[in-house]
Amino acid sequence: MNKIDMSVDLNGLKLKNPVTVASGTFGFGEEYAEFIDLNQIGAISVKGLTLKPKEGNPPPRLYETPMGLLNSIGLQNPGVEVFIKKYIPYLRQFDTKIIANINGANLEEYMEMARILDKEDVDSIELNISCPNVKDGGLAFGTNPAVVRNIVTEIRNCTTKHLIVKLSPNVTDIKEIALIVEECGADAISLINTVAGMAIDIEKQKAVVERKVAGLSGPAVKPIARESKVEIVATGILLLCAKALAVVRPILIPVKEPGPFETAIKSISSIVIFKLLNKFFIIGINF
């Protein structure tokens, strides 16, 4: 049987297939290596990184909703240095692209992360200005057009790497933000980060997670992601044929070349999943 060419060019980042795993859903890849062949994935967006190791939010951190999941992980990660020393060499053993998802509590931290990773062997930097689970940075940065303009411009000046900006659905008009991001030199947009939400424990009469607000992902938010401006960029939340679990996986389409969203979705669900990921089962948490 002839191999089908599933490669995509995300405005300079070439993936052998459009199946990527969203940051936060897949750790650093090694967690899933016992279950699937990482060579089958187009790109891995690693767990959100910060300058220093981050412990994350106190438990409990998860709450299941009807066909969705609220999470309040809070960017727990070992820090960018551990990523560089341990996980870049690990992931380079596989034929997949590495996307480094970066987070900062302030502009300077974001810039420092970009400067550090600019010199490292990663294929793309994903600027996360949309995490709802941290006090500083995150969502607070990604919902203000002026702040977005500033941060993307500054980050673009810090690195020549392929640059993706991950946006929040928690805005009035995501198009406005997306166009600013494009104008400031980003190569692609990743849509969407989790939707801010809250669940209440009626017996305890308080929110189920300590920060009260958590991030909602899963099939429940798929229509929101789909509505998020198809003509600019597309991100898919695919529920796998394996039906075991839900998957949140962004299909990153170049900003400058509007992406054929429905085609991408169709091709993935009909070909890629059956072809290579019959056993795929990533949990749909998308930070």
Partner: protein, 254 residues
């Protein structure tokens, strides 16, 4: 690679009003240790996530789970019929540490938490280690005949009258038991409040405690960082670092 796929259900049998036994086919070459767990999901889409379920006992061809109905996911499992399929992923996590030097182990279980102790007692038994079980129930006891076959001694407790050897909780006589006999370790599984008390009493008697923690999970393999617990060394992942933790390393406060 670890197992992930569909297996057939061989038996679903209720033990009490809200607790049941589920037996499934054991895939070839699957390694299982007592105290480990599986992520289990019904084949329908809803509910979204796998449920982490501790393995109860197992033989070469079958795996048995003891499950309490606590929500939609576990209720769905209880409705499965023979030859239905489920998704199984595992075995996962670190189970009980069965140390060769152990001579005598006390296993203290409460409620559905008695189930994961079955596999532990069976393995300890095979190793020639003396086992005694304290099993606590809130009403009817279950599977006592089975426990009596796999452990050297079994004492049952129930909150209800005329249901067990003692009215009350395993912790009522735990201190006496530990102070009058030389135990090398206490294995415990059950409600947090029980494990906390067991841990305190064991500690006071200088006996090592191994306990099984439970937490809501999404991935079950250490990727999503959702099932955090507090330990003396900071946050740990229940799924990957546990579910077995030593009593002196975890914070069991609510």
């Amino acid at each position: 690679m670890k197992f992930y796929g569909k297996v057939k259900v061989k038996k679903v049998e209720f033990m009490t009003e809200d607790a049941f036994k589920m037996v499934v086919d054991r895939p070839n070459d699957m390694v299982i240790e007592p105290g480990q767990f599986f992520m289990i999901k019904n084949v329908e889409l809803h509910p979204l996530l796998n449920r982490p379920i501790s393995v109860s006992s197992y033989n070469e061809t079958e795996i048995e789970f003891g499950i309490k109905i606590v929500g939609t996911g576990t209720e769905n499992f209880s409705k499965l019929r023979v030859d239905d399929e489920i998704f199984l992923m595992g075995a996962l996590g670190n189970g009980f540490d069965l140390k060769k030097e152990y001579k005598k182990v006390l296993l203290v279980g409460g409620g559905i938490g008695v189930e994961p102790l079955k596999g532990a007692a069976m393995e300890l038994n095979k190793m020639g280690i003396f086992t005694k079980m304290f099993l606590g129930f809130n009403n009817e006891c279950f599977d006592i005949d089975i426990f009596k076959k796999i452990a050297n001694e079994v004492i049952t407790f129930s909150e209800a009258e005329n249901k067990a050897d003692f009215i009350g909780y395993p912790t009522d006589i735990l201190n006496d038991e530990l102070s009058k006999s030389d135990y090398d370790a206490v294995f415990t599984c059950g409600p947090k409040i029980l494990m906390k008390k067991v841990n305190e009493i064991s500690k006071a008697n200088n006996v090592e405690t191994q306990l099984l923690l439970e937490e809501r999970m999404a991935c079950g393999i250490g990727a999503c960082l959702g099932c955090t617990c507090e330990t003396v060394n900071g946050y740990k992942k229940v799924c990957e670092d546990g579910p077995m933790f030593y009593g002196n390393e975890v914070n069991l406060n609510e």
